[in-house]
Every structure is written in structure tokens, then in C-alpha cells.
């Protein structure tokens, strides 16, 4: 017994070493595989606050460019609205038609405005921290978009901050379609360029042109249909030759991201519930068959 205590006392720092390494490894693997802990990421309150202060300070420096972009975007949208209004009026001859539709559309969404407080671009696994959390109604798996297009999906939620997996992350997987043609595929990012992602699994019989708009499909339970993702830049064959892989020029400038909004869509949640119920019942069906055989 005396020898044992002496042994422990002599080598206590090695036990401490092993203990600390084990804690580190637990943190590492938990973060990568399981979304339980927000404490040791930038979604925790202290780190989030510090980043918020620093991002507020730096936001003044990029204000000019952001303003210019917003003005341009506004102008573009205004023109588009005017054009669409004219077309709509010509078709329906009803001035109130659009207003009624708009209210219906808006009541199904709730948009939560948020600011980006930290952002990375150069890693394989990029993350964005935003300054809204569970107290503001943000939940896991909500979609995040900005004025120029899709940003990503909420991954971890803290009380006042959340971490978003942007399109620029190898784990990101967003269902997209080619606007007006309705062929769909999944958007992935392969590292490298910050403005190009790849749309996989587009069927080979799909017809489209370079420059076609790529939008969210609304099939996933995260984004409503029709949010801009980017434009078709190039087309490749997939590795197995069974489908197309489309290089998409992303419309969102991830290097200059400040104001985003989290999309809280009640109808999407209902849709997800139905899908979950359906998959469950199919599983049930499968086991039933297995037992009868």
C-alpha cells in the first residue's frame, strides 16, 4: 500500500497528463459526431459576446461596401417588382390580388434577424457564429439566408448565440433545384474556392443552360422553395457517369457576411413531422414483413 501511494505521488503528473488528453479527445469527438455541447465553441455566452464586440467594431470599416451592395440589390429588386406587378395586373386586372397572396405567404414564415459575429473561410469545416440563440426562437436545423442568397443551416444553439454550418463546409448538404426546370440535386462543397459549390445527383436527361439560376427546392425540411443559391457555372459528369455534377457560382459572398436572417417556417415543421411519421411507418412495415416471412 505504501509503495502504491508512493508510486502514485511520484507519477501524479503523468496521470494528470493522461486525464487532460482524454478530456481533450472527448471534446474533439463530441463536437464532430454529436451536437450536444455548445460550451466550448463560440456559441457560448462569453465567447459570443467577445466576438460580438469585435465584429461591431469592424463593421464600421466595411459599412460603405455593404451600403453599396444593398442599394444595388434594392434597385434590382424594385425593377423586378415593377415588372412583375405589370404582368400580374395584365393577367388578373385585380389590384389587390398580390397583397392578399403576400399576406398568406408571410404569415407562414417568421424571419429572425441576426448578425454574424464570427466567420471563417479557409478551413475544410467552416463555421459561422450568429448573435441569436434559443431565447430568440432559433432552433437546430433552421435555414439561414442573407439578402444575396442561402447561407447555411443552424447546427448548435446556445442561449444567445448559435453556430451555423454554411454552404462552405464539407458537411453541408442542401437540396436545390434548377429554377423553372424543377430538376433537383444536393449542394456540396469540396473545399478550395470560396464562391463555388457543386450540385450532385442531377439526372442526365435534365436540360439546362449555363447561367441558369439554382434555388432551394423546398424538398428538404429546412428551406422553403425558391431561395436563390447561385448560377450554373460549369457541368461535369459524376464519377459513376450516371448523373451530372453542376458547378454552382454561389450568389452569397461569404467573405463579407454581416446581416442574415434565420427562417422559422411553421409549415416546414409540419412537413417534417409528416415525413418523419412516414419513414417511421415504412420502417414498421419493413419489420412487419420480415417477421411474417
Amino acid at each position: 500500500m505504501h509503495n502504491l501511494t508512493e508510486f502514485l505521488a511520484k507519477y501524479k503528473h503523468w496521470f494528470l497528463f493522461v486525464l487532460l488528453e482524454v478530456i481533450s479527445m472527448v471534446l474533439l469527438f463530441r463536437f464532430n459526431n454529436y451536437q450536444g455541447s455548445v460550451w466550448f465553441t463560440s456559441a457560448n455566452i462569453v465567447a459570443g459576446q467577445v466576438y460580438e464586440i469585435s465584429s461591431e467594431a469592424t463593421s464600421y470599416l466595411t459599412m460603405g461596401k455593404a451600403n453599396k451592395e444593398l442599394t444595388q440589390r434594392n434597385l434590382l429588386l424594385e425593377q423586378e417588382v415593377k415588372k412583375l406587378n405589370e404582368i400580374l395586373y395584365a393577367k388578373t386586372h385585380d389590384a389587390k390580388y398580390k397583397q392578399r397572396g403576400q399576406y398568406r405567404f408571410l404569415s407562414s414564415f417568421k424571419l429572425i434577424d441576426a448578425k454574424v459575429v464570427s466567420n471563417s473561410l479557409d478551413k475544410a469545416e467552416n463555421f459561422i457564429t450568429i448573435n441569436k440563440g434559443s431565447w430568440d426562437g432559433v432552433r437546430k436545423d433552421m435555414g439561414v439566408a442573407c439578402g444575396n442568397g442561402v447561407v447555411g443551416v443552424v447546427y448548435l444553439v446556445g442561449i444567445h448565440h448559435s453556430i451555423v454550418i454554411p454552404v462552405l463546409n464539407s458537411k453541408s448538404n442542401i437540396s436545390c433545384s434548377l429554377q423553372g426546370r424543377n430538376y433537383f440535386g444536393y449542394l456540396h462543397w469540396k473545399g478550395g474556392a470560396k464562391d463555388v459549390a457543386y450540385l450532385d445527383d442531377v439526372p442526365r436527361h435534365a436540360k439546362f443552360k449555363l447561367g441558369d439560376r439554382v434555388v432551394t427546392s423546398g424538398y428538404s425540411s429546412i428551406f422553403p422553395a425558391g431561395i436563390l443559391v447561385g448560377k450554373v457555372k460549369h457541368v461535369y459528369n459524376s464519377e459513376d457517369g450516371l448523373s451530372f455534377r453542376i458547378a454552382v457560382q454561389l450568389s452569397t459572398d461569404f467573405g463579407n457576411l454581416r446581416d442574415v436572417c434565420v427562417i422559422d417556417d411553421a409549415s416546414i415543421r409540419q412537413q417534417k413531422q409528416v415525413i418523419d411519421a412516414a419513414t417511421d411507418s415504412i420502417k414498421q412495415l419493413g419489420t412487419d414483413y420480415n417477421t411474417t416471412e
Binding site: K12, E21, L28, D122, A124, E125
Partner: protein, 167 residues
Amino acid sequence: MNIDIVKIFGWFVVLILAQVFVLNHIHLFGVATPLLYIYFVFLFRRNMPQWGSLLWAFIMGLIIDTFSNTPGVSSASLTLIAAVQPFVLRPFVPRDSAEDLQPGVNTLSYVQYLWYAATLTFIYNLVFFSLEMFSFFNILTWLECIGGSTLLTLLLILVIEHVRSRV
């Protein structure tokens, strides 16, 4: 002794702030990021209790991780560095030196210090980038990151040591 703890704490805060606000945003040629905070471990005196240096290193790694969204990566690597630091230091220490020698270009010579710092920096970067790229492995990027960051970090540390030795 108390002055020493205050000094250590000072370095602790300054290095973390510098890393989080400035150095984490530097990516020279897309590969080299200076990881200056490991300089903190290089400063540990020879007679510093091992459990103390391990704990300091672990906490620092944890804070850096929290800010850069890499849970466990730098805490694991920094704890490892703190554990091997006395063994790396031993061959470079002059025979008749003080018991509480603090590694630096003043106490060791320039060449000795360079070897000491280079060895530790290399081990650190090797472990750090291996852990970080766990899921997205690409041997070329891995080598570039290790090489680039080791050189850049070492350069910064030598500059700081040089300035400190003049003061």
C-alpha cells in the same frame, strides 16, 4: 514567486488576445497561420511543477479552442507540448546554470534556443494539424500547413525573443 505568477498570467492574457483577434485571421498563402500562443509553454521555468505547467497549458488550449471552434484540438496538442517541454529542454541547458532557469536566448545561446523552439514548434504543429484534419485528410495540404505554420510561428517567436533579450 508571486511576481512570477503575475508575469505568467500577463503572458497568458496577452497571447490569447493576440491569437484570437489578430493571428487567427492570418493565412499566409492559404496555409501558414502563426500559432504564437505556444510561446507561453516555451517560457516555463525548469523547476516549474509538472502538474502546474500541464494545467496552464490545458486551460490556454481550451480558451483558444473555444474561440476558434476547434474543441479539443489545441488543448490536446498544447498539453502534450507542456508534457514534453522539460525533456526537450534538458539537452540544451548549460551545465552550471540556475535551477529555475527560464529558457530564452539570454540563458541559452541563440543556436541552442533555436533548436529548442524548433523542436517544440514542429511537434506542436504536427499534432495540431493531424487532429484538425481528421475528417478531411489531404496529405499535401497537411504537409503545407505543418511546414508553413511551423516556419511562421518560429519566426515570430525568435523575433519576440530577440526583442526581449535587448530590453
